[in-house]
Symmetry: C2
Subunit: 176 residues, 2 copies
Amino acid sequence: MSGPGALPFDPIAEARRQWEGHGWEDAADGMALVTSVIRVQQLYLARIDAALRPFGLSFARYELLTLLSFTRTGALPLSKAGRRLQVHPASVTNVVDRLEADGLVRRVPHPTDGRTTLVELLPAGRDLLAGATAALNAQVFTQPGVAAPDARRLVELLRHIRASAGDFDIDAIPLP
Amino acid sequence: MSGPGALPFDPIAEARRQWEGHGWEDAADGMALVTSVIRVQQLYLARIDAALRPFGLSFARYELLTLLSFTRTGALPLSKAGRRLQVHPASVTNVVDRLEADGLVRRVPHPTDGRTTLVELLPAGRDLLAGATAALNAQVFTQPGVAAPDARRLVELLRHIRASAGDFDIDAIPLP
DNA sequence: CCATACTAGTTGGATGTCAAAGTATCTGCA
DNA sequence: TGCAGATACTTTGACATCCAACTAGTATGG
């Protein structure tokens, strides 16, 4: 995250001035947006990691456990988990390896499809998850750094970016 | 990035429904915002990496080269580079190692401060940077997935989040 | 002058990302 | 019925992140 202390100026505003100074005006808005998103992601991830550290979980592991807890059976094929979490199959393998090593999930062969392995939430994982979610909700998700109307406005704008990248059909499930 | 093809629904809208269904309404807006930022960062980074791949550069390396090119001397102390780029000192060491190995920068002892090492942009780095910036501007920064007014709106909202995290004094350099 | 506190940068390790390539299994069609 | 193409998951390697601990050098105050 940030080096020691705050900078005396906004580094993204400064970069934007440089972009314009070099004649790249057309790209300045986009550059500022992209680097802002990257920086805010970094800030959020640092806060998430801090909130989860007492539980021995990273955010990637937490997300997988949460996804499993929301299913009816507490299990999913790895491929489906990867699509829902929008991560690469190799990342799913990596995270499942680590959760399995910690006794929070287990791998189960699919009853009828030899290609498929299910990842199944174990009681230890479910138990850990309750406290972890409470901590995340209290420390991060109820304090996102902007007021609720602005948070919703941001989500809506970011949603257009996600849809334009092909994440989902934008007309599929409209926001209320 | 995304697994194969788009999902038939918005995974973040779905996660938000789960959050509300579990009684975590107060945290739902924040959860949606945080996961949206994380996802959009991932999308942007994938596009950036694709644009930079022909130049053999990652975004972290590109950013450091760009920062150096904006200085008067083409050189900076590693500590200062880390503060400007808002990354951990160990990350700066790592990226400088790799750029040095590729002959794009070199480490130079500080003339008067024995603790300090300067990282200096070499001609090969400067040459590579011109094409890399053109590619990034053309492929990513002029096509951020939203129109310019929305991009500016997003930057302003994200700027408040960055300020509230202590990145810089929000009154220091106001946007026009 | 010296002890202490601070700064600068490195090293080792953990983490998770994705690309590329691989093996194993399933499906659909000729 | 056989096979091409697809799917599922793993392995390997590259990449960059940060934490914790370390060494070396500088600044400051008594």
